[in-house]
Symmetry: C2
Subunit: 236 residues, 2 copies
DNA sequence: CGCCCAGTTGAGGACACTCAATAGCGGTGG
DNA sequence: CCACCGCTATTGAGTGTCCTCAACTGGGCG
């Protein structure tokens, strides 16, 4: 795992510079937080594309918040195939399982350049003993993950290849409306959508030919959202 | 919603008779629990097959624990199709979203006869303010739901129809090993596996013809687990 | 410059979907 | 008790989509 220490930062923070402790999402609203006496410091690390944050089965003592970038959570099927179960974006939390002393249930692998806060479980445990408000915040994180999981099951596992690709592209714009959308490797796209790389390739080629997507710059797409929506919903 | 009040019971309880408060899973380990002054009582209700516990979008003030039976969580796609996102079994928790003042994100509908505990959110909120241990229990519930969701995404949305059906049947035996497995309507099975009713029907007919499943009694199957495992993993 | 990997494209076939007709089951009423 | 109805499950034929296997292309990098 290639990590580059940068600076101290916190869960769900919008901007890093003035973020120290107070403004944080997870720790927001807590009074009298004592951050002293940590065995393990909180830090902010950077990951290159395709580097591994953690592996399935590892028992970490760390929870992560994604400050910037995209991370894939990967599961492996008995037949050796892999399936990308979810993508995490800005301000999402990873590795909550560590709070329950459970091994991580996926591989977490960077898809783009990522900046990630590492929070020691011990800190969360200590604070949650004193501050019941933290419990609410944590549950919100769990809930968000579950809602995403359900959505992936419904949207990216049903319908034709065209529909699934369209839905995924639209999903990617949601986080950053108006911005161009990063395009991933065909293999990753296939693993997200339950399709083969060839099918994804063909589908994207066709969308490009009909002008619904255009390569603005290197691996950056601009979308015809209206038409893609119609495809996603099966109108076309 | 057809409900039949039965008796007071608690989250995750194994047996109802001697369950009052102490032995409960969610409330286990809490000291000095004061159950007085509840606006809304805790009760145990029963549901008939295909009756609705709650609907998507409703804002309930209740969390549920399934004591007995099977419940499907249903999502609806933009194109009108429905997808069963998860099945809940004995001792699973439903409606945790109510704790966060969120609307329920699915329809919850009974597949079999069900017995369900209803727990007012107000009680959980009050207790979690005092007892940090409850937070841990709640997170465990969230984690369990998320793990199931991920599993459904991996197992029931990839592979051939044969594989998916085999995996689902095996999943159903896990909760009650050795016991016969209930067989649902083909439409429900299709919605669980992302297949059409016809495909499910054909697949099950073929499994029955080859003797891998046998109808022990009315809608109760006995399985050739060994062979089904081989199918599930794509060895056949 | 040439290698290597990722993406594209093609041909053929397998699988699941669609539409449609039939069979089976359970309930109701004569 | 049987006849009839309605619903669900089954089965069939034909089609379409996606998968498989394989060849080819092109860009990035040593």
């Amino acid at each position: 795992m290639k990590t580059i220490p940068i600076r101290v930062a916190w869960l769900g923070e919008q901007d890093c510079r003035d973020c120290v402790i107070r403004g944080s999402a997870l720790f927001a609203g807590l009074q009298e937080v004592d951050f002293g006496a940590l065995h393990q410091p909180i830090e902010d690390i950077a990951l290159q594309p395709s580097s591994v944050l953690y592996r399935i089965g590892e028992r970490g003592r760390t929870v992560f918040t994604l400050r910037h970038g995209l991370i894939k959570l990967v599961k492996y099927l008995p037949d050796g195939n892999q399936r990308i179960v979810r993508l995490l974006q800005h301000s999402d939390t990873l590795g909550l399982e560590a709070l329950l002393n459970q091994p991580y249930p996926h591989d977490a692998i960077a898809l783009t350049h990522c900046e990630i806060c590492t929070i020691p479980v011990s800190l969360v445990e200590r604070l949650s003993r004193e501050q019941s408000r933290l419990c609410q915040e944590l549950m919100t994180r769990w809930q968000r993950a579950l809602a995403e999981a359900d959505r992936w099951l419904a949207e990216f596992s049903t319908g034709t290849a065209r529909q699934r690709v369209a839905r995924l592209l639209l999903w990617l714009t949601e986080a950053t409306p108006g911005q161009p959308v990063p395009l991933f490797g065909r293999e990753d796209l296939g693993a997200m959508l339950g399709l083969t790389t060839e099918t994804v390739s063909r589908t994207i080629a066709e969308l490009r030919r009909t002008g619904l997507i255009q390569e603005a710059s290197h691996h950056q797409l601009t979308l015809d959202q209206l038409e893609l929506h119609r495809i996603a919903e099966g109108i076309i």
